[in-house]
């Protein structure tokens, strides 16, 4: 069960909850489960079956480089934040 930090804009989908605990062995499975529990979530994070351009999924301490295939441990924290690189 991963702990998902719900982006502020999506808290209307989770009755205002800032954190939800959702099962998912991979990030892709987690998003599937988020969508089934909180319809509308997937539209925010996916485009053409991949993480949306400009969005990063932080699994633990850092943004994953494995996209939806990223494996999640039981206690992984997942954050959806703007993707940034730098100058």
């Amino acid at each position: 069960m991963a702990k998902v930090f719900v982006p502020y804009n999506l808290r209307k989908l989770t009755d205002g909850q800032a954190e939800v605990v959702v099962p998912g062995e991979t990030l892709g499975k987690l998003i599937e489960n988020l969508e089934s529990q909180y319809p509308g979530f997937e539209e925010f994070v996916l485009q053409d079956g991949r993480l949306k351009p400009g969005l990063a999924a932080v699994c633990g301490h850092a943004a994953t480089r494995q996209g939806l295939l990223q494996k999640l441990d039981e206690d992984t924290e997942v954050h959806f934040v703007p993707a940034v690189s730098g100058g």
């Binding site: 850092a62 480089r65 940034v84 730098g86 100058g87």
Partner: protein, 762 residues
């Protein structure tokens, strides 16, 4: 699974200071830059740019230019392929293709002064300029908005009619607000209710430019086989390929981009400007090579500066000096199209501190200025100015010691960053301890150089998260034991050396025996930009992998020579030896001489796609002296203290720290896009856009702190961006210390200092 590494201290190459591999070429003028490119039949491109900040393009008459002898091609925005309104990743972050194309050349509307509207290619530059002058553009000038306050006013002109803003998840039309997002955790109102001291302030900042010496340039050939070759000054050849292919609707594989030497970038040479224009002009001229170079005015007015904006910070602390709540609202200028670095600003703004309850609002606001781009830790200097000024003022208000307050509230492993993400092992506490131990901190500020002048000292901290991303390296072993290293990372700050040194450390040879070459996109695997403080970290990691593969292959060769199992061979300090027979030894170099007898060439590769490098922190100490009569400010002593993980080549690390500090000091004291009511920049030359020179600054002292990054083989974190974050607030805090007045707007130039003193009754 992310690999972790134990820190070492007994390196042979890492941490030394070899002469840079490209040094002789640079100092003798042999290094090839974009302006040096000469090809048979070369044409010159000149771009026609809008004199208006906001206008409809009613017509473009190119007939007179087309009729001129020596003019081979003319283009307008109509020649740029049309794109759907779709966000894609073009290698420099998420980009709306339609707007990215419009930014290259406007078709129906210009949204900033300097916006390209047409271009010509002719046999020489002067003829091209004459032809460009002959192009007649009819505009309908519209009201402009060049800052976030004007752009968000109820009666503001709408700059992009098709922009659909995102206000906390709700769609908004007829707006200049591209997005408004929020990060929030903890109980912010509850936190402030517990606070004994609350301070809230607003800070304004002007747009600034990276100020690289070399202007943007590109040369392109679009040949008869529909292949495009580009030579350009860039921070990333592969992102140039991706962006140009996206704009021109071509498969990336049909483009070859060769990065030339780069005369500075600092983030500003990640976007493309001239590449698609030169390519289209080449196609229209029958496949001739076309070269374009921006003049300085266009670099200022039409490339990608760092956003200005308006930021508020509210802090709450208890009597025992603990921060209990923080709130910020950051509105940054995107320029003519969405994409201000406010997402990064949000990640950085509270990152130096451990605060249990925070709320961050970020706004990306479209204004009639050039589309902003990355500039060294994009968004973080703006955030640091607001946050570190507020921390200082809160300490003054509550009577806290400014250093002890920072120590008591320092972020550490397990602290939540402002966007909620938990920090792994970081070095903020070590940086503050190192700051306290510097000679600068322990020394008296000294007496002013003349009676009446005032001296002050300021400190401030900053953070950058340092990215990872993709890099590739190829190694080829020569029979004299030297190694050719082929990489795709443009060398801006000495990375040929820092990457070669990581390969050399693994191979047990001297840094000088690894010869690095930066190559084109056909010659090495995909490599992301030199930016995000990622190159020594990620490309160095790729070099480490390639070097380890070379050791593995040579282990097999040694086993073959000695007719033993390869498991019986060990490698240490550049020598292969038998574990069982100490007589069997051969050096790396001697074994290289036996390649032809043991199976032929040894070539290896390394490629990575890495997570973030592990954030880094810096604290700066600034002493300055001010003449209250004139407002003239001199920085008299300045020290940079930064955690770099591991300094691969300390000289280049120190250079990055000094360069970042110098740019930040310029941002603090002098630099700004000075806009008039017509929306025009009035200081688009280096005469009027005042950057600090070596004569303006003292020797910038550096103190390297090394808290090894556990997810890099040598502990590298990334260096180049953090040092531009603390200078602006360090200067602001020093001004307050000197004069007793605080300035809430950059640049804190002589005029603003005099005005602040007058307002204070001094």
């Amino acid at each position: 699974m992310v690999s972790t590494f134990e820190p070492k201290s007994d390196y042979k190459v890492i941490g030394t200071r070899p002469i840079r591999h490209d040094g002789l070429d640079k100092v003798t003028g042999r290094a090839v830059y974009g302006a040096d490119i000469k090809l048979p039949g070369l044409l010159w491109a000149v771009v026609v740019r809008s004199p208006h900040a906001h206008a409809l393009v009613k017509s473009v008459d190119t007939s007179a230019a087309e009729a001129m002898d020596g003019v081979y091609a003319v283009m307008t925005g109509a020649d740029i392929p049309k794109h759907d309104d779709k966000v894609v990743d073009l290698g420099e972050g998420a980009t709306n293709l339609k707007w990215a194309a419009d930014n290259i050349m406007a078709d129906e509307k210009v949204v900033y002064q300097g916006h390209a509207v047409a271009a010509v290619a002719a046999t020489d530059r002067y003829l091209a300029e004459v032809a460009a002058d002959a192009i007649k553009v009819e505009y309908e000038v519209l009201p402009n908005a060049t800052n976030v306050r004007d752009a968000l006013a109820p009666d503001a002109p709408v700059i992009l009619e098709d922009l659909v803003g995102d206000d906390l998840g709700e769609e908004v039309r007829n707006t200049n607000m591209a997005s408004h997002f929020r990060h929030e955790f903890g109980d912010v109102e509850g936190g402030f209710a517990k606070a004994d001291h609350v301070l809230e302030r607003e800070y304004s900042m002007q747009m600034v430019h990276q100020g690289y010496i070399e202007p943007h340039n590109a040369t392109a050939i679009w040949d008869q086989e529909d292949r495009i070759k580009i030579w350009t000054s860039t921070q990333g050849a592969f992102p140039v390929r991706t962006q140009t292919a996206g704009i021109l609707q071509m498969p990336e594989s049909r483009l070859k981009v060769t990065p030339l030497e780069i005369g500075g970038g600092f983030g500003g040479k990640i976007p493309i400007y001239l590449e698609p224009i030169c390519a289209i002009l080449s196609k229209k001229s029958g496949g001739r090579p076309v070269k374009g170079i921006m003049e300085r005015k266009s670099v200022f007015e039409a490339s990608g500066p760092a956003p200005g904006g308006v930021l508020t910070v509210k802090l709450g602390a208890t009597n025992d000096g603990k921060l209990v709540a923080a709130e910020t609202d950051m509105k940054l200028e995107a320029g003519g199209y969405p994409g201000a670095a406010v997402g990064a600003a949000a990640m950085c703004v509270f990152s130096c501190y451990d605060i249990p309850n925070t709320r961050i609002d970020g706004w990306d606001v479209v204004v009639n200025k050039p589309k902003s781009a990355a500039y060294r830790a994009p968004g973080s200097p703006q955030a640091a100015y607001a946050m570190e000024s507020a921390v200082d003022e809160l300490c003054e208000q509550a009577g806290f010691d400014k250093m002890q307050f920072r120590v008591d509230n320092a972020a550490k492993e397990g602290t939540r960053r402002g966007d909620g993400v938990i920090f792994p092992r970081i070095g903020m506490e070590e940086v503050l301890e190192a700051t306290k131990a510097t000679d600068h901190w322990k020394s008296d500020i000294g007496e002013p150089s003349k009676p009446g002048n005032k001296r002050g000292r300021g400190i401030a901290s900053g953070y950058w998260f340092n990215v990872g991303l993709k890099s590739s390296v190829n190694l080829a072993l020569n029979n004299d034991g030297t190694v050719e290293l082929v990489e795709g990372s443009t060398d801006i700050g000495g990375t040929r050396a820092s990457i070669s040194m990581q390969a050399a450390e693994v191979l047990g040879i001297a840094a000088e025996d690894v010869r690095p070459t930066v190559v084109d996109t056909d010659t090495v695997g995909y490599t992301d930009v030199t930016g995000g403080s990622r190159t020594t970290y990620a490309t160095g990691y790729a070099a480490w992998k390639a070097a380890n593969s070379m050791v593995e292959e040579l282990t097999k060769r040694a086993a073959l020579l000695w007719d033993i199992d390869e498991d019986g061979v060990q490698f240490e300090d550049g020598v292969f030896s038998s574990k069982a027979d100490s007589e069997l030894q051969i050096s790396f170099k001697d074994l290289a001489g036996k390649l032809n007898d043991t199976g032929g060439p040894v070539n290896t590769t390394g490629s990575v796609d890495l997570e973030a490098a592990g954030g880094a922190f810096g604290t700066h100490i600034c002493d300055l002296e001010i003449d209250p009569d004139t407002g003239k400010t001199d920085v008299v002593r300045y020290t940079v203290i930064q955690d770099v993980g591991k300094a691969i080549h300390p000289s280049y690390v120190e250079g990055q720290l000094q360069g970042g500090a110098a740019q930040g000091i310029g941002w603090a004291l002098n630099e700004e896009y000075f806009m008039n009511d017509a929306g025009s920049m009035t200081n688009s030359s280096y005469l009027d856009y005042r950057m600090p020179t070596s004569l303006d600054l003292p020797e910038i002292e550096t103190e390297i702190v090394e808290v090894p990054n556990p997810i890099h083989p040598f502990g590298v974190r990334g260096v180049g961006e953090v040092p531009i974050c603390p200078p602006i607030p360090a200067v602001a805090n020093a001004i307050e210390d000197a004069l007793g007045v605080r300035i809430y707007e950059t640049p804190m130039n002589a005029g603003r200092i005099i005005a602040a003193l007058e307002e204070n009754g001094d």
